[in-house]
């Protein structure tokens, strides 16, 4: 097998006295899609920031393609939980942000393509401030997808979308992930989404993995299949099983 795209060993992160991540191990092969589910505040976004190289772990190590990560991870593109669009750039220029080094014509074409793929082609010339929350999220998704990264880190990319658009976007993410062959880390609160998109589902609680499921269903996945429902229920059980729940 080729070297892992991402390899986290015993990664911990501490802010002051509070331990946010506590000895996280994670191996992500090229072309693999991992979904992380877990309660709010358990440390999912923090882990993504560490993998992206935006923060340093307090302990443990992160290897990218076999080399220790120092500084920013050049292969990763992150879609942040809050869309984090540049308010002074029009929608299309926001999408083109990761393509600044491409020739102008190609940049325009690819940005326009990515934008219409998320269904926002007609809004290219708008300012981000006039978009709805879900539209901003889709622009942010287009921005992350447009530069065809080797490692895609999506932090609740579809959280603000209605059920129907969400299904469309899941199809889009899946097809792009398949055609690019990139590794994907998807943080989501939607267990159905995790089962639809991931090869592997990891459940996090208070900075540790508490469960791991591999998803061997054929793609595209049929949400009505009994295997799908079975697995979803098992994941839901794992997420909800929380010995400290009453103490919280």
């Amino acid at each position: 097998m080729a070297t892992n795209r991402v390899l986290c060993r015993g990664v911990s992160k501490q802010y002051g006295q509070s331990i946010v991540l506590d000895g996280i191990d994670l191996a992500l092969a090229p072309g693999e899609a991992v979904a992380i589910v877990g309660r709010s505040g358990c440390g999912k976004s923090t882990l993504l920031r560490l993998i992206a190289g935006l923060d340093r772990p307090s302990a443990g190590s992160i290897d990218i393609d076999g080399k220790p990560l120092t500084g920013l991870n050049p292969h990763a593109r992150v879609m942040f939980q809050d869309a984090a669009l540049l308010p002074w750039k029009r929608v299309i220029d926001n999408v083109a942000l990761g393509l600044l080094h491409a020739p102008a014509a190609q940049r325009q074409a690819e940005a326009a393509h990515a934008l219409s793929a998320v269904g926002l082609g007609p809004r290219a010339a708008d300012w981000p401030s006039v978009l709805s929350g879900g539209q901003r999220q889709r622009v942010s998704l287009a921005r992350a997808l447009a530069c065809r990264p080797e490692l895609l880190l999506l932090d609740e990319p579809l959280g603000a979308l209605d059920a129907l658009t969400r299904l469309d976007m899941q199809v889009l993410i899946e097809s792009l992930w398949q055609s690019l062959g990139s590794a994907l880390v998807l943080v989501t609160h939607d267990v159905d989404e995790a089962v639809t998109l991931a090869n592997r589902i990891l459940v996090m609680d208070r900075g540790r993995w508490t469960a791991s499921f591999s998803v061997d269903l054929p793609r595209p996945r049929d949400r009505t299949a009994p295997e799908f429902t079975l697995l979803r229920n098992r994941v839901l059980d794992a997420v909800c099983h929380d010995p400290h729940r009453l103490a919280m």
Partner: protein, 278 residues
């Protein structure tokens, strides 16, 4: 594959009728700021004509206007106006280069900040008019001294707003720039400068105000040109009409400067949706 989810644009006929309503409304909108000055002028004119206001205290606007006209025809007023305008333009240009330049330096580079910022903040608290004696000693009583004091007035607001504009940017947006592979230069150009622009423009407006104030003061020291001189001279001969004319001119020029900056704001900061009051 995917159907565009949000293809519904603006209904064209609805958009057109809305446009009409907007044009009608905007006429009224543009009129509103002028209502108060107009009312004041009318009341003032009436009181002067009825003799409630002695001419020596406050001459009628129509009289001020006719004096203004005479001075314009004689070439006196344009001469003074031009001198004041030129002083203001030079001071703003030099003040902007220094203020925005240093503000960018301290905002962008930690070394520049550590070296310069606290000193500049210290100097800022000195009222610029307290520097008049020093400026006269350094530069004499000529144009340089005037320019110096006006530049000082313009410098600090520009420096502070530029520095703050860069420092108050959302750190997440800088992370976005890093994640998407922007170089240092691109980060400055695509993220930091546009983020700072609204704040810098506020600084420009404040700089105009302070520079203007200093202009009025320095034009009363040892000069024979400029609106300040005109006013000061008129005082010695008790020509209230010319004094009032000078003050009105200051107000108009100040308003013109402010409008120019606002125009610039509307042109380049369209992305910012602002609270428009309730």
């Amino acid at each position: 594959m995917l159907v565009p989810v949000d293809a519904a644009g603006l209904g064209s006929s609805a958009a057109r009728s809305r446009l009409m309503r907007v044009t009608v409304a905007s006429g009224w909108h543009q009129l509103k700021p002028w209502l108060l000055p107009l009312a004041v002028l009318v009341i003032w004119e009436i009181s002067a004509r009825l003799g409630w206001l002695p001419r020596r205290i406050l001459p009628a606007p129509s009289h001020v206007l006719s004096v203004g006209w005479e001075l314009t025809v004689s070439g006196e007023l344009p001469k003074h106006l031009w001198v004041s305008f030129r002083r203001a333009a030079y001071a703003m240009a030099i003040g902007s280069v220094l203020g925005i330049g240093l503000g960018l330096a301290t905002g962008l580079f930690r070394l520049a900040e550590q070296l310069l910022d606290s000193s500049i903040q210290m100097l800022r608290t000195v009222p610029s008019l307290a520097l008049i004696p020093l400026a006269i000693l350094w530069f004499g009583i000529g144009e340089e001294c005037k320019l110096f004091l006006m530049v000082v007035g313009a410098f600090f607001p520009l420096y502070i707003t530029t520095y703050l504009g860069i420092r108050s940017i959302d750190p997440r947006l800088i992370e976005v720039a890093q994640i998407f592979g922007l170089t240092r230069g691109e980060l400055i150009r695509h993220v930091l400068l546009p983020a700072a622009l609204p704040s810098v423009l506020v600084g420009v407006r404040m700089a105009f105000g302070l520079m203007w104030m200093n202009l009025i003061v320095v034009e009363t020291i040892a000069t024979d040109k400029g609106i300040g001189y005109l006013i000061n001279n008129a005082r010695e001969f008790m020509q209230t009409d010319i004094i009032v004319l000078g003050i009105l001119l200051y107000a108009l020029l100040g308003k013109a400067a402010d409008s120019t900056v606002r125009l610039f704001e509307r042109r380049f900061v369209t992305w910012k949706s602002q609270f428009a009051g309730v």
